[in-house]
């Protein structure tokens, strides 16, 4: 078991050093639910989420105006 313990500690140290101390990024692959991220609306800053549109088919465009 010792090598496994060593590997575990090494992995933990590496994951902390490389930033995996944070939750994994949302997986936007086909078949996955789109994350219920709550963001401000462009017009007025009210809270919005994709969950507000359940029951409707949605085309979501992630973009920038530049």
């Amino acid at each position: 078991m010792k090598p496994h313990v060593f590997i575990s500690f090494t992995s933990l140290a590496m994951s902390v050093a490389t930033g995996t101390a944070f939750a994994a990024p949302p997986d936007l692959s086909v078949g996955n639910p789109f994350p219920d991220l709550v963001l401000p609306s462009l017009d007025g800053g009210r809270a919005m989420s994709i969950a507000d549109f359940r029951g409707k088919k949605v085309i979501l465009h992630v973009f920038a105006s530049w």
Partner: protein, 403 residues
């Protein structure tokens, strides 16, 4: 998205209740997108994700999401007929759809208490994200401190560096700005990009403000055309909170070009009296570290000191910035005019002015810091209606040279 028939078809499907168009923008200054939407007559709901909480590394991304919230297609080039047959006409199985629920913003007190109790990088970053997204600008100080707390434990997390940069740039654009906020933003964006050079969003943020040799395209050159067309329709264009600067209009270049080599130095014997209090200056260099043989764009901001009630005097002549590059270094234009703000009052004004120029390091530049001597000459008044003076200010521009 320039696909023939796409806008017409999606507008019709929305009218029929078959489809909802939504957007998420990955942009530092979101209300520029409001102008864009007005210009393009697109009126669907848009969510603002300046911090990139979605953690995408590229835009644009177009997703077809079913009525249960499941991603069904990633559309590379949207096709009206294909979408109708393969998405809109289908019925998808999924969990029961809950009654309509309205999203609510996070509760800051709860997130702060969680961060203090757990004291983990994740909890601090979550609190910082909420502050930087939702709180008034005066709380950006706390957002920045919270990102710093997260980074003190996990120094190599690119996302946290990127978001810290966004917070610094937000504070720079606010009345709560602190010295060097823009440079700190650029430093953090550069750190993020160093950690992951393949993140397109991070790269674009540096390119937005950076030199022309590294630009893929001009970022906001559409703004004047959008305003013109919106006005021609009889509408009032959306007012931008932060006007795009020179770097954001600049066109890409393939070769570094210099102009003004014949220009005459305006105060070669340094005889003009120095100003040390009326106009405050701030320098930002993008990218923060120049490699030998490469270029950087230097932004010099000039702000009349509000405590001294200083004003620009617009009736006496133009204000300029002169740059004296050290041997081997090249500057695209050594004599820069400090442009008036577009709507500045005629006689005196108090707007922030920015001069931007580009500098090229010699191939033989050694690693370290080098000073680029420069000075500004301007007409400034001590108060509106008060004494007006012609003054010089020596501007300290320090360039960091990498290996």
């Amino acid at each position: 998205m320039h696909v023939p028939g796409w806008h017409k078809a999606t507008a019709e499907w929305q009218k029929q209740g078959k489809l909802q168009m939504l957007g998420i923008i990955q942009e530092q200054h979101p209300n520029r997108c409001r102008l864009f939407m007005q210009w393009k007559k697109m009126n669907w709901p848009i969510m603002v994700d300046s911090l990139d909480l979605l953690e995408v590394s590229v835009v644009p991304i177009t997703l077809a999401i079913d009525e249960h919230g499941i991603i069904r297609h990633r559309l590379r080039r949207p096709n009206v007929k294909w979408l109708e047959e393969n998405f809109l006409s289908k019925t998808y199985e999924g969990p029961p759809i809950a009654a309509e629920s309205r999203a609510a913003p996070p509760v800051m007190d709860t997130l702060r208490q969680q961060a203090q109790r757990k004291n983990t990088p994740e909890a601090w970053r979550k609190y910082a994200d909420a502050l930087a997204t939702w709180a008034p600008a005066k709380q950006l100080d706390e957002a920045i401190k919270s990102y710093d707390r997260a980074l003190s434990r996990v120094p190599n997390d690119g996302w946290t560096h990127f978001r810290l940069a966004v917070a610094y740039r937000k504070r720079f654009d606010s009345p709560y700005r602190k010295t060097d906020d823009f440079q700190k933003a650029v430093d953090q964006w550069a750190k993020a990009l160093d950690i992951d050079p393949n993140n397109y969003i991070w790269r674009r943020r540096i390119q937005q403000y950076g030199p022309r040799l590294t630009k893929p395209y001009p970022f906001y050159d559409w703004v004047p055309q959008a305003r013109k067309e919106v006005r021609a329709r009889g509408e009032v264009p959306v007012k931008l909170a932060v006007e795009p600067g020179g770097a954001e209009f600049a066109r890409p270049q393939r070769h570094f070009q210099t102009t003004g080599a014949e220009q005459k130095e305006p105060d070669p014997k340094a005889r003009i009296i120095r100003d040390k209090t009326l106009i405050q200056t701030e320098v930002t260099v993008v990218p923060p570290v120049i490699e030998p043989g490469r270029t950087a764009r230097v932004h010099v901001v000039f702000r009349p000191n509000t405590q001294k009630k200083a004003h620009w005097n617009n009736e006496s002549g133009r204000s300029v910035l002169w740059i004296n590059p050290p041997a081997g270094w090249k500057v695209d234009d050594r004599l820069q005019t400090l442009p008036n703000a577009p709507n500045a009052p005629k006689a005196v004004s108090r707007e922030t002015r920015t001069a931007e120029f580009e500098v090229k390091a010699p191939d033989s530049a050694e690693a370290g810091t080098i000073e680029l001597p420069a000075y500004a000459l301007y007409y400034v008044c001590e108060d509106a209606g008060g004494k007006c003076l012609y003054r010089r200010q020596d501007v300290s521009i320090k360039l960091r040279v990498g290996d």
